[in-house]
């Protein structure tokens, strides 16, 4: 397998009956920060659980550090730090006790690093973590995930529900983590502003399907918002349109080739699109497609 990817998914499937993860394929290049975007319930957590071999998949292949997870994932987890949206530690455990537990689990557990992180995050080592605020709990998880010399951080919504200051602090921690060349992050979030600050790559999932993936800057560079009057929409080439949002003020069209749109329609305004706008339009577009497919049946 290709060692240039720290994570590689090929046609991964998972069928829950009411939700299907459908042929999910994407790669996370080594040394990059990959933002895994999607609205709640899009399949981010399921995908992460499959990568961690925490749930059985119904098909496809998963490679982590170039190795097939079916050949033994436990050993690979020595190099992976995991952070979830909820803490997961028992409320009565103190960070000091968590240190005792973890140093007897991870071969590379660095006690000093853990207590340094506690200090850095102003976390008391002898207080029960059930009494911590949400931000403190998240920082405790991050401290735990980063104290065993992990090369890959897999995080599921680590910044959701946090105030902007704490979120910024956490983003800063991730930035410091990826200074090392071989360190990578897969960061799932629906808060696109966080990802715009830190991500190199973006994978966008909606309703269990990957709708967009690639270099974040290239995706932002490529997409644009074309603004025009309602009656001008039909003049726009369909191959350029991702989604149209019509309001009383006019039409806002997400186009998949900003440069081409500017050339073809010089009279119309083409603005830059942020990740959030791109995400919203792609979700609307897939909804519209599924509605038209259903009504066509």
């Amino acid at each position: 397998m290709d060692d240039s990817y720290v994570i590689e998914l090929k046609n991964v499937k998972k069928d829950y009956g009411d939700f299907v993860l459908d042929n999910v394929s994407f790669c996370v290049p080594t040394g990059s920060v990959c933002g895994f975007i999607g609205q709640n319930g899009a399949g981010k957590t399921t995908t992460i659980q499959i990568i961690l071999d925490a749930i059985k998949r119904d098909g496809g292949e998963v490679y982590v550090f170039g190795k097939n997870i079916d050949d033994g994932m436990a050993a690979l987890k020595e190099d992976i730090g995991v952070v979830f949206d909820e803490m997961g530690f028992h409320d009565f455990l103190t960070p000091k006790q968590i240190n005792t537990v973890m140093k007897n689990i991870y071969q590379n557990w660095d006690e000093n690093a853990f207590f340094d992180y506690l200090k850095k995050f102003s976390l008391p080592s002898k207080k029960e973590c059930g009494k911590f605020s949400r931000g403190m709990r998240m920082k405790l998880q991050i401290a735990t995930a980063m104290s065993h010399k992990a090369k890959l951080l897999i995080m599921d919504e680590p910044t959701s529900g946090l105030d902007p200051i704490v979120r910024n602090e956490i983003i800063q921690i991730f930035r410091e983590f990826v200074i090392e060349e071989d360190h990578s992050i897969l960061l799932s979030s629906h808060i696109t502003t966080d990802l715009e600050k830190i991500a190199d790559e973006v994978v966008f999932i909606d309703a269990g399907k990957i709708v967009l993936s690639g270099n974040k800057d290239e995706i932002i560079e490529k997409h644009g918002i074309l603004r025009c009057k309602k009656d001008e929409v039909k003049e726009i080439s369909k191959s350029l349109i991702v989604d149209v949002d019509v309001s009383s003020m006019g039409a806002e069209i997400l186009v998949n080739d900003k440069k081409a749109a500017s050339k073809l329609y010089p009279g119309m305004v083409t603005d830059e699109a942020g990740l959030e706008q791109i995400m919203i339009h792609y979700v609307n577009s897939s909804k519209a497609i599924s509605i038209s497919e259903n009504s066509g049946r």
Binding site: L52, D53, G81, F84, G88, F92, T100, K103, I105, Y106
Partner: protein
């Protein structure tokens, strides 16, 4: 794996004070019973019963012996709440953390069995200490009887714990209440089947000596044939451990 066992013990630390209270209560009650049996009210009552011809000296010693033997069950039975451990993990969402740990499902299951064994061992050690104290205070129970009893009860509790672990992996923590009751029902059913003849005699022929015979046979079994239960515990573990791994693996280690 060691870390998971330490985590389980931290979970049980919450119940530590209750456990200490049970043990202190047990020790105090047993010592008071022994003193009363030899010098106090129980001594007076049993002497009266002997004088009235209601019982012989041997009968009264036999009853005291039974009481003390069955009291030995308490420290082992109360040492650990295995289904409580599963529930605590589930409530905290620890299975998510566990999914990210470099520990195989087999090792996760093994850690639960080691925890169960260690809970039983804690109870057994406390029982040994109590037995030593009581053996010095009285001749009602011999230390060899105590030793056999401790092995018997420890084996029974380990069988019970193993069944609880298996049921947790098969049915999940949603049925944790049943996971505690089902093994108990199995033991009761076993006792009923084993004593079916006696129960029939009691109910059909109203032969009440059968109850005494029944308890005598259980007592003899516990105090002199502990090796049978020990072998049963080893065999049960041999069957239940791989089965638990099988079911846990299907659920990727999540109960």
């Amino acid at each position: 794996m060691k870390g998971l066992i330490i985590k389980d013990f931290y979970c049980m630390k919450k119940q530590f004070m209750n456990y200490v209270a049970i043990i202190i209560g047990l020790v105090v009650t047993t010592i008071m019973f022994v003193l009363s049996f030899n010098y106090g009210n129980i001594y007076i009552s049993r002497m009266d019963m002997i004088a009235d011809g209601q019982a012989t000296l041997a009968d009264t010693i036999e009853v005291a012996n039974r009481i003390m033997i069955f009291l030995m069950m308490l420290p082992i039975a109360c040492a650990g709440d295995l289904d409580g451990l599963f529930r605590a993990d589930n409530q905290a969402g620890f299975y998510k953390i566990a999914a990210g740990l470099p520990v195989t499902t087999a090792k996760r299951v093994a850690s639960r069995f080691i925890t169960a064994l260690m809970f039983v061992a804690v109870g057994a050690v406390i029982d040994i200490v109590i037995s030593l104290i009581l053996s010095m205070l009285t001749d009602i129970v011999k230390f060899s009887e105590f030793a056999n009893t401790i092995i018997s009860f420890s084996s029974l509790m380990f069988i019970y714990g193993s069944v609880v672990i298996l049921l947790m992996y098969v049915f999940g923590t949603k049925v944790s209440g049943y996971a505690g009751i089902i093994p108990f029902l199995i033991v009761v059913a076993g006792l009923v089947i084993a004593g079916f003849d006696g129960i029939k005699r009691l109910l059909v022929y109203e032969d009440d000596t059968v109850i005494r015979q029944y308890f005598n046979s259980i007592h003899t079994f516990i105090t002199s044939r502990s090796y049978v239960l020990l072998i049963a515990a080893i065999i049960t573990f041999g069957i239940i451990f791989p089965l638990s791994i099988f079911f846990a693996d299907r659920k990727k280690g999540v109960a």
